[in-house]
Symmetry: C2
Subunit: 408 residues, 2 copies
C-alpha cells in the first residue's frame, strides 16, 4: 500500500467539483462527485431516530442496490427536520444534478450538513448545481474543492488516497470527510465519502465499510451528540479491472487493510479538528472482560465532560477517568485498574491495582502540555481491548456552539 497525493478523484474515473453557491456566506457549500462508470455503492447511516432527508433517501437506494453515478452534497443546510418539503427538495436536488449529468435520478445520491430545521434555499441550490456541474474534472484541485464543499466548522480539509497492487493491477482508493460538531460514536458519525476503482461486489464493499466504520468513526467523539445527517458512502466503479475480490481472498484482505487505514486516519483527523478542540486524546483499554466492555469503557472516557475539561486544563485528574468508567455501564473490577498517560514526552503512571500512585506533577504537566495524549487503561478482567479517540472541551467549543445558528 502506498499513500499517494490525492483525494476523492485519485481512483480512475472519478471527477469532482466544489464551489461557493450562496448557501453559506463565504465558504464553499456545494460538492459534486461523478463516476464515469456506474458504481456499486455501500453506505452507513446515523442511528438517530430523526434522520435528514438525504439519509432516508440514500439508505433506501443503497438497500435496493442502485448503481450510482454521482453524489451531490450541500453544506450550510442539513435538510433535517424539514418535513415533507425537505424530502421533496432533496429529491429535486438529485433530479437537477441528474439532469445536468444526463443520468437517471436514481443514480444520484445526496448529502447535506449544516443547520437543522431550515428550509432549503432551492433556487440557490438549483442555480448552483447548474452552473458548477460543467466544471467537474479529475484534477487534484477539484478533489480539494469537493472536500472543501462538504465542510462546516472544520478548520482543515480531510482527504487521503492510497494505491495498492492487487493481482497485477493498481487499485486506488480515495476519500474525503468532514467532522467537527455533532460527532459521536454509535453510527457512521461524519460525512465520509470513499471512492475506489476496484472491481468488488456491493455486498463485499458494504462489509468492508461496516468493518472499518465500527473501529474508526464509531470510536470517535467530539461532543457526544448524535447527528441527524451523518453517513459514510463508498463507491466502487470497477475501472481498475482487477479480478473481482472473493471474501476469503488475500486480495480482499489487502483491500480491507487499506480501507481501515484510510478511515482511521480520517477519523482521527476529525477528532483533532473537533469543534474548538485544542488537544486529542486516544484512550486504549486492554485486559477487558469482553470486547463490548472495552469499547464502552474507552468511549466513556473520551466522552466525559469532566475528563475533557481536565485534559483541556492540562490537569492529571485521573480520578475523573475512573469515575467516567465506573458510570459507563461497562464492566470492570476497580481493584485491578492501572492508568497511565503517555506521549512523546514520556509516561506517567497514575494508578496501579486500583490504588493511586504518587507522581511527578512537573512530568505530568510536560506530557499534558502536548497536543496528543494517550490514556492507557489496563484492566485485569480478560483479554479484550478497544481504542477510542476524543478531544478536550474548552472555551472554543462553547464559543462555536453558543453562537452557531445566528452566525451561519
Amino acid at each position: 500500500m502506498r499513500i499517494i497525493e490525492g483525494g476523492i478523484t485519485a481512483p480512475k474515473g472519478f471527477l469532482a467539483a466544489g464551489a461557493h453557491i450562496g448557501i453559506k456566506k463565504v465558504k464553499k457549500d456545494l460538492s459534486l462527485l461523478y463516476s464515469q462508470k456506474p458504481s456499486v455503492a455501500a453506505g452507513m447511516f446515523t442511528q438517530n431516530i430523526v434522520r435528514a432527508a438525504p439519509v432516508i433517501r440514500n439508505e433506501k437506494m443503497i438497500k435496493a442496490g442502485n448503481k450510482i453515478k454521482g453524489i451531490v452534497t450541500i453544506s450550510g443546510n442539513a435538510n433535517a427536520c424539514t418535513g415533507r418539503q425537505g424530502l421533496l427538495d432533496n429529491e429535486k436536488m438529485a433530479e437537477i444534478y441528474a439532469q445536468m449529468l444526463h443520468v437517471k435520478q436514481q443514480e444520484i445520491l445526496t448529502a447535506a450538513t449544516g443547520i437543522i430545521g431550515k428550509e432549503m434555499p432551492m433556487k440557490t441550490i438549483e442555480k448552483g448545481i447548474r452552473s458548477i456541474t460543467p466544471n467537474i474534472n479529475a484534477s487534484r484541485q477539484s478533489a480539494k474543492d469537493a472536500a472543501e464543499g462538504i465542510i462546516t466548522t472544520d478548520t482543515f480539509l480531510k482527504e487521503l488516497a492510497v494505491e495498492l497492487d492487487i493481482g497485477g493491477k493498481v487499485v486506488t482508493i480515495g476519500a474525503m470527510a468532514k467532522g467537527s460538531g455533532m460527532i459521536h460514536p454509535n453510527m457512521a458519525t461524519v460525512l465520509a465519502f470513499l471512492t475506489t476503482d476496484a472491481v468488488i461486489s456491493q455486498r463485499l464493499l458494504q462489509k468492508a465499510l461496516i468493518e472499518a466504520v465500527k473501529v474508526t468513526y464509531n470510536m470517535i467523539s467530539v461532543d457526544g451528540s448524535v447527528s441527524t445527517n451523518d453517513m459514510a458512502l463508498f463507491l466502487a466503479n470497477g475501472m481498475a479491472e482487477n479480478e473481482e475480490f472473493t471474501e476469503d481472498s488475500q486480495e480482499y484482505q489487502q483491500f480491507l487493510e487499506a480501507v481501515l487505514y484510510i478511515n482511521k486516519k480520517l477519523a482521527v483527523q476529525v477528532v483533532q479538528d473537533g469543534e474548538g478542540a485544542s488537544k486529542m486524546m486516544a484512550t486504549v483499554v486492554t485486559g477487558a472482560k469482553t470486547k463490548e466492555d472495552a469499547g464502552i469503557l474507552a468511549k466513556a472516557v473520551i466522552n466525559d465532560n469532566l475528563v475533557k475539561t481536565a485534559i483541556y486544563g492540562e490537569d492529571a485528574n485521573w480520578g475523573r477517568i475512573l469515575a467516567a468508567m465506573g458510570g459507563s455501564g461497562g464492566f470492570f473490577n476497580p481493584e485491578g485498574v492501572a492508568i497511565s498517560f503517555a506521549n512523546e514526552k514520556g509516561v506517567i503512571h497514575l494508578m496501579s491495582e486500583g490504588q493511586p500512585i504518587a507522581f511527578d506533577e512537573n512530568k505530568a504537566l510536560e506530557i499534558l502540555a502536548q497536543r496528543d495524549i494517550i490514556i492507557n487503561i489496563v484492566l485485569q478482567d480478560g483479554l479484550e481491548e478497544a481504542m477510542a479517540w476524543g478531544c478536550d472541551l474548552g472555551h472554543e467549543y462553547i464559543r462555536i456552539n453558543g453562537e452557531y445558528r445566528l452566525k451561519t
Copy 2:
C-alpha cells in the same frame, strides 16, 4: 404544609456544626450532624461501579438497619479511588466522631466530596472533628454552618425546612444539599441530607426517599458525569411523637408530599447552581408512549452539549433538541413532535407536527435572555410524561473544571 425558616436542625433533636478545619484552603470543609435520639435511616447511593469509601460503608450499615446518631461529612477530599487505606481512613473518621459523641462507631454515617484519588489528611480531620464536635447545637446558624461544610464549588447554600400538622402533632422535615459538579441522573446524584422528627419505620422512610429521588435528583443533570460519592441520607428520630405512619394512610401521603416538595426544591437549586451555569432549563415531555421513554427523552435534552451551548448562547436552535431526542434511544414518532420555549416573557412555538414553524427571532431572544427556560415537548405517542432539569454549558464550566484540581 408550611415552609419555615431553617435547615437541617429544624426538626426536634437534631444538632449540627460546620467549620473550616484545613482540608480546603479557606472554605468550610467539615459538617457534623447529631441526633439526640437514635434515628432510623434511609439512603440512596451512586450507581457508579467506582464507589467512595463512605458510600460503601453507609450502604452496608443502612441495609443492616443500624440506628444512627450522627453523620460526619468532609468536603475537599472525596475519599474515592483511595484503595484499602481509604476504607480504613473512613472508618477512623466515624470512630473519632463516635468517640467525641460517646456513641458507637456503628451509629455514625460518613460522607465526603471533593477531589478523587487523594489520600485523606487524617491528622487534620482528627484534629478538626475533636475541636468542632463540642460546638454542635440546634441553632439556625449551626444548620447554615453544616450546610456550608458540605459544599464544594456551589455558590449558594441549599437548605429548606417544612412543618406539617399530622394527627394533632407537628412534624418537621429539614434538609441540606450540595451539588454543582458531577451531577447526572441515574442515581442519588448529590449529597442530600434530610432530617425529620417523624415517627416512621425504616422501610417506609426508605420508600419515601426512593420515590422522591426518582423524580427529583435522578431527573437533574449538570454535566452528565456520574459521581463516585453521591448519596441521599434521611434520618428520622421520632421525637415529634406522632402515631407511626402506615403505608396506606393519609398521614404518610401528607409526609411523602412534603418530602417530594423539599427534594424537588433542592434538586432544582442544585441545577440553578450547576458548575458555571448561567441558565436553568426545565424540559417537560408529554404524550410519550411510556413513562420510561418520557424520562429518557427529557433527560437526553438537558444532557446534550449542543442544546446546552445553544441555551447558553440564547439561540433558539430547536433542531438540536430534536436531534438529541432522536439519538437518545427513547421512542417517539418524529412526525408528531411539537416544541415550544416558554417562561415569564411568553411562549414561542418552534415546531408542530414534526414541521418547523416560522417564529419571531426577537420574541425568542426575549424569552431566552431570561435565567429560567421551559422547553415543552409534546408528542403524539401516548399519555405519559416526565420532567427533567438541566443547565446551560458555558465558559464558566470550562474555567471551573479545567482548573479544578490544581486550585483546590
